[in-house]
């Protein structure tokens, strides 16, 4: 009889704890697995100097996202040499300064809950690998417009030279500004 009562307690407590377990899980746990592909991208860095305002643009970024068990991992990468500022000498100098021959790829990793993928504003924590260093940016906001299956995402990554231990290049002995914000314009599709 004593054993029976203990067994009954176990049988009663197991569903209760299973219910607690289900509550602890995120609601999007049941969301289907997804794969995302970056279709179009425009990444533009901006550099400021007393004599120059320069934008360097790359359209050659590659990106992929994988969603599993309600969590999504995104990876975006571009070759440093694909950034074009309109001046080949400046671009080669940029590659040298950012150690682009030694570390040819700039990559960004984003981890997001799958439930947030359809919201108009994405609050992202970024892990950026560039020039042989990794910098983390918290709460970078991106705007999203969903047009059919296309997710158009725009935003600015507030990167600086010092984040990546890059010595600021100078012209006429005046160094460029430390802030190198990167404007992001991407179109993603779920596969």
């Amino acid at each position: 009889m004593k054993k029976f009562s203990r067994l009954a307690m176990v049988l009663l407590l197991l569903p209760a704890s299973a219910w607690l377990n289900a509550q602890a899980r995120p609601s999007d746990r049941t969301a289907p697995d997804q794969t995302w592909k970056l279709d179009q991208s425009t990444l533009t860095y901006h550099m400021s100097h007393p004599m120059h305002e320069v934008d360097g643009t790359s359209h050659a970024a590659l990106g992929k996202g994988v969603c599993h068990v309600g969590q999504c991992d995104f990876l975006i990468a571009a070759a440093v040499k694909t950034f074009d500022s309109g001046d080949s000498n400046r671009d080669l100098h940029m590659i040298q300064v950012t150690r682009g021959a030694q570390f040819p790829i700039v990559s960004v990793r984003i981890h997001l809950p799958q439930s947030s993928l359809d919201s108009p504003t994405l609050d992202c924590d970024l892990e950026v690998q560039f020039a042989g260093k990794t910098a983390h940016y918290a709460h970078v906001l991106f705007q999203q417009k969903i047009d059919g299956t296309a997710h158009h995402i725009t935003g600015i990554v507030p990167s600086t030279l010092s984040d990546f231990k890059i010595d600021p290049p100078s012209f006429l002995t005046i160094a460029i500004k430390n802030a190198i914000p990167v404007r992001v314009d991407m179109v993603w599709h779920a596969l």
Binding site: L13, S17, G65, L75, P104, I105, E127, A135, Y137, A138
Partner: protein
């Protein structure tokens, strides 16, 4: 079977003072609760830790490990979280941290997507230290080229200014001081120009692509000022000899001034071209955040 992770187990695996039924009950409760705790930690790590955005992979891995070990950690004190940033209250958009130098292959921090998943080959992602050294050497030489080029402006300008006193003054061919000064300044300008050019010529080529932007015009203008820098002293020497021999400057030597002006102008234009377009914003750029 470990219950509560304590060391109070006898050799038969029983916990002292607790019966089998209670043990089974405690095990079931602790197992299910531990599952819920661990899944909450793993699945909601990015949501529940509002301040401490632990995006780096080692931390996530550590959390997963901690979540897994919670199963037998119900009776144990919590271990300190490794690699968790202490300064969790961070400003928006500010970088949390910058890690040390990464290996050139830029592999994923933890079993996530890799550059290979994007279709990038190891050849594209691996760095080339020798090529980086070539870039460094190129930049160094072009910096010297730039510095010498700017310094060369001084003797070029001085030679142009001193040319006013170089011709014989109203037939006074004996006064050579100002003319000699002009010759000295011109020779200095040519020597400095040659040194400047040598650094650009000897700088290693790192790209076979055609020049774009201001540097393209910088290179085009070489076809004017380089021959000019050769021709100007030759014509100057001819004019100098004609004057010293009491003759009026004549023939091709009379083009010395015009060639010199064209050379100096194209040299100045080359400096401006490599800096073009110029957007003066001195008031904004004094701050360097």
């Amino acid at each position: 079977m470990v219950v509560g992770g304590s060391s109070e187990l006898d050799p038969m695996g029983r916990v002292h003072g607790i019966g089998h039924g209670t043990k089974a009950l405690l095990f079931a409760i602790s197992l299910t609760l531990a599952c819920s705790v661990s899944e909450r930690v793993v699945a909601q790590s990015s949501e529940t830790q509002a301040g401490a955005k632990q995006t780096n992979a080692p931390t996530t891995t550590a959390q997963q490990g901690i979540g897994a070990t919670k199963e037998d950690a119900m009776a144990l004190p919590d271990a300190p979280l490794p690699a968790a940033p202490a300064d969790s209250a961070l400003d928006l958009g500010e970088p949390l941290s910058t890690s040390a130098l990464q290996p050139p292959d830029q592999s994923p921090p933890s079993g996530g997507l890799s550059l290979g998943d994007l279709g990038l080959t190891p050849t594209q992602t691996e760095g080339d230290a020798a090529r980086q050294a070539l870039f460094d050497r190129r930049t160094h030489m072009l910096k010297v080229h730039q510095r010498l080029g700017l310094i060369t402006v001084i003797p070029v300008a001085a030679a142009c200014l001193s040319s006013v006193g170089a011709p014989p003054d109203k037939g006074n061919y004996g006064n050579t001081a100002s003319r000699d000064l002009h010759v000295a300044l011109g020779a200095t300008a040519v020597a400095m120009y040659a040194a400047t050019a040598s650094y650009a010529i000897r700088a290693p080529r790192v790209s076979g692509e055609p020049a774009r932007g201001g540097v393209k015009w910088h290179k085009y203008l070489i076809y004017i000022h380089a021959p000019g820098m050769v021709l100007t002293p030759v014509l100057g020497a001819m004019a100098y000899n004609q004057i010293n021999s009491g003759q009026k400057v004549h023939g091709i030597a009379s083009a010395h001034g015009a060639v010199a002006v064209a050379t100096a102008a194209s040299y100045g234009a080359a400096i401006v071209a490599v800096s073009w377009p110029i957007h003066l914003n001195l008031h904004k750029s004094q701050r360097n955040p």
